[in-house]
């Protein structure tokens, strides 16, 4: 059996719906599809926005809460900072001191036996090393030492001073006394260089008592022995190395003297100081 189209031929020209609507259908469909995509994108963005806002608010609230906790404990942090500050400051002060006992002990060991000292003046930060002009004949490096001493003192003055014995200050001993002979004075100069940390030894004067000099003292030595004055300059005090507070803290200790100190301090607590 063969199919027969019963529509009259003149009415068959319409074809498809699109063709009959002259593109309006495509426009509507395209618009709908576009709007659907836009809606989808908008929904995704809106969801992200909402979730992020909520998360940011949550984080801010938590941050504020934790900050309040930290603020409540801030005095503890400040106190620990105070302790660290004092540890470092005291360690710095201790580290910038000169070892007087050790140097005097070495001095007593290196001096020749036929030398008698009448005075010993030790200073930290002295700048008098370069004032003696008579030392050059005995110490080849006297001038250089004087210059370097002045330079180091100037450097010490230029750097911020943090201690009564600031780093960079050069300790020195000025010794006056009697020697058995000029040769012993020379030996003394050599021996003084053996002291740890001595950078230069300068002879300021060495005069036999009978010759009317006496730069080394106000009087004379018995038997006309030479009176001498010698200055031993030490290397500038080093800058204390920074130490971790933990290391300082871990071994902070007090020795047995605290009880006695406590007793005295207690008695002074009520009275005027």
């Amino acid at each position: 059996m063969k199919a027969v189209n019963l529509i009259p031929p003149e009415q068959r020209s319409g074809g498809s719906v699109g063709a009959r609507s002259e593109g309006a259908v495509f426009a509507v469909l395209g618009l709908l599809a576009g709007l659907a995509v836009l809606t989808l994108l908008y929904g995704v963005a809106h969801h992200q926005l909402s979730s992020r806002r909520a998360e940011a608010a949550t984080l801010s609230a938590r941050a504020q809460q934790v900050q309040e906790q930290a603020a409540a404990l801030a005095p503890y942090t400040s106190f620990v900072a105070l302790r660290e500050q004092r540890l470092q400051a005291i360690a710095q002060l201790i580290g910038s001191r000169f070892d007087w006992a050790g140097s005097l002990g070495e001095l007593s060991r290196v001096l020749p036996s036929d030398v008698a000292l009448s005075t010993l003046a030790g200073t930290v930060g002295s700048t008098t090393a370069g004032t003696s002009s008579s030392s050059s004949s005995f110490s080849s490096s006297a001038r250089a030492a004087a210059t370097s001493s002045s330079a180091s003192s100037a450097a010490a003055a230029a750097t911020p001073i943090s201690s009564a014995t600031p780093p960079g200050a050069a300790p020195s001993f000025t010794l006056s006394g009697c020697a058995a002979s000029q040769a012993v004075v020379a030996q003394t100069l050599v021996r003084l260089r053996l002291i740890s940390g001595v950078s230069d030894v300068t002879l300021q004067s060495s005069t036999e008592s009978g010759s009317g000099g006496g730069g080394g003292g106000s009087g004379s030595c018995p038997g006309g022995d030479p009176v001498f004055t010698v200055q031993a300059s030490f290397q500038p005090l080093p800058t204390p190395l920074a130490t971790s507070t933990e290391k300082l803290e871990s071994t902070v200790a007090t020795s047995a003297g605290q009880g006695a100190y406590s007793a005295v301090a207690s008695t002074t607590a009520g009275g005027g100081r």
């Binding site: 360690a91 009448s118 006394g177 018995p222 803290e249 902070v252 200790a253 003297g257 301090a265």
Partner: protein, 265 residues
């Protein structure tokens, strides 16, 4: 208008509508979402920073007892006030141990040339003392043998020392010795000490074996905590000033109690 032209026109209008929708609705929302992302990251950083602070504070709270003990111990080296009586006591004790006579103590540097030089250094240092410590220059006079005086200097500087392990050992006042002037006790100088000078080795050279009396004038500087801090800055063994536990304990606002330093461990 042909059918083709009509389709092109519809396409243009369609694209225009979609572009308008994108620009007016979707794009601003996406920009806000991006901005909110940055805000969220900022809040996250704030939270992490706050958590770090809180952790530090909690650690500080845990270490408070040890820190308090340390600060109190350090108060022996650098007390909150002059504490001259205790200084005299310490020096007297140290000199007795070394068979040295503690002759005098003078506030301020008033020694000889060494003292003057040291005083200058001390006054210069006063302006920049570490941690705001106030400097107190002293001049001490001791009488004894060379060996005794040398050991006494070690004893004095041993009041506060660094240990070999790097820690601090505090047994008394921290003193920085700036000058030492040693002379024969009879007045100093060769002429005054004629008898001493006549004997070879009467001074330092044979000090270890001689008992020649010497006078040592020592210029030193002690340190005092700044008045604004006090020994513990208002902290008590319970907690620091202003801490919640302290407030709860009713100790807030209590003044600095120097007596705390007198508590022997």
């Amino acid at each position: 208008m042909t059918r083709r032209d009509r389709l092109v026109l519809i396409g243009i209008v369609l694209l225009a509508v979609l572009a308008g929708g994108w620009l007016l609705v979707v794009s601003p929302e996406r920009k806000q979402a991006v901005a909110e992302q940055a805000q969220m990251e900022s809040a996250n950083q704030q939270l992490q920073s706050a958590q770090t602070q809180a952790a530090t504070a909690r650690a500080a709270k845990l270490r408070y007892t040890a820190a308090y003990s340390t600060v109190v111990s350090l108060g022996k080296a650098v007390p909150p006030s002059e504490e001259v009586p205790s200084l005299i006591y310490e020096l007297n004790q140290a000199s007795h141990q070394r068979n040295v006579n503690f002759n005098s103590i003078t506030t301020g540097a008033s020694g000889g040339a060494a003292g003057v030089g040291a005083a200058k250094a001390g006054s210069a240092a006063a302006a920049a003392a570490p941690a705001g410590f106030t400097q107190m220059p002293f001049t001490f006079v001791f009488k004894g043998t060379f060996k005794g005086l040398a050991h006494l200097l070690g004893e004095i500087q041993g009041f506060a020392v660094r240990t070999t392990t790097g820690g601090l050992l505090v047994s008394g006042r921290l003193l920085s010795i700036q000058g030492v002037d040693i002379a024969l006790e009879s007045g100093g100088g060769v002429s005054a000490g004629g008898a001493g000078a006549g004997a070879k080795g009467a001074g330092a050279s044979s000090a270890a074996s001689s008992n020649v009396p010497l006078t040592a004038t020592i210029t030193a500087t002690a340190y005092v905590l700044p008045a604004s801090q006090g020994l513990t800055g208002g902290a008590t063994p319970i907690g620091p000033s202003g801490a919640p536990s302290t407030v709860a304990g009713g100790s807030a606002g209590s003044t600095t109690t120097p007596a705390v330093v007198r508590v022997a461990p």
